[in-house]
Symmetry: C2
Subunit: 144 residues, 2 copies
DNA sequence: AGAATAAAGGATGCAATTATCCTTTTTTAA
DNA sequence: TTAAAAAAGGATAATTGCATCCTTTATTCT
């Protein structure tokens, strides 16, 4: 469904959302540990998210990553767009370039309603919504 | 959504279904050409489908691949199971190993209802159903 | 039986995604 | 103003999915 990068990205932002409510910051190491991801790879993803203004970062001692709770909430789709590209959802089930409403591939109609709904969901759901449903951030975001 | 192999497999079986109704057979070259896929790679996929009894093949002159229209219809999910594995649908949206109903990941519930529906659809839909909806096999299965 | 045809299967190459390493830049604090 | 902390960024490695090549086996037809 999504790339590994995208999975890490979503997990990381949820984690940040929960842990930096109080204005504190998290280092790459802390995030990677919490979401069970390789540290240097996670660093790259976090950088991308910062560049696209989805999360914030501060260099130097006491620095780290955080999300600014005064700015607008983060829609899940924003992360997907930035990491996996805008067209992650528009792809035809059979990978046909020329598949569309007028000239649908054999399973176009079967897929279309499914992916449309899922996309709409991710367009309306925010990371903040997801964070609310989590009791213990660590437990639910790690793999072990 | 599905792997390239799986896309080719679905297209190939649809094409076979349409073109071998009369008991004729198609060579790898003919299939690859029709569905716009690399020939040797397609050969591998067809082999796998034969091994799993989804399609049939005959060696030697006049041989090729075909689907036996006297045997039971092919459910789309069968192809997916064989090529991408049985768990292609059970994977959690965030790639967590330990995500399940009892211990759902943040987006588990959001995904579950949709992938359940899609899975059910592919469990009931047959290649024969899909073939019916196609007027010109070539035109709809190739990329160009 | 022998030649031609076509799939089967093993071994290998290539490219994208995933992951790692190392150096540079910025910031804080002593 | 120097040392340490921490992210940023460039270069490189490993893994995996995708694709190709070549030899072998089975079948048909002459």
């Amino acid at each position: 469904m999504f790339s590994k990068s995208c999975e890490y990205a979503i997990k990381a932002v949820i984690h940040l959302c929960i842990e930096t409510k109080d204005g504190s910051r998290l280092s790459i190491a802390e995030i990677a540990e919490a979401i069970d991801s390789p540290e240097p790879f996670t660093a790259k993803i976090l950088q991308t998210l910062v560049r696209h203004d989805i999360i914030s970062s501060a260099k130097g001692p006491g620095g780290g990553f955080y999300i600014d709770h005064h700015s607008k909430p983060v829609f899940v789709i924003e992360i997907i767009d930035v990491i996996d590209g805008k067209h992650a959802f528009e792809r035809c089930g059979l990978g046909l370039k020329e598949c569309n409403e007028k000239r649908p591939c054999p399973i176009h109609n079967e897929f279309a309603s499914y992916s449309r709904k899922l996309k709409r969901l991710l367009e309306t759901k925010t990371i903040q919504d997801l964070a609310k449903g989590i009791i213990s951030g660590k437990a639910f975001l790690s793999n072990t």
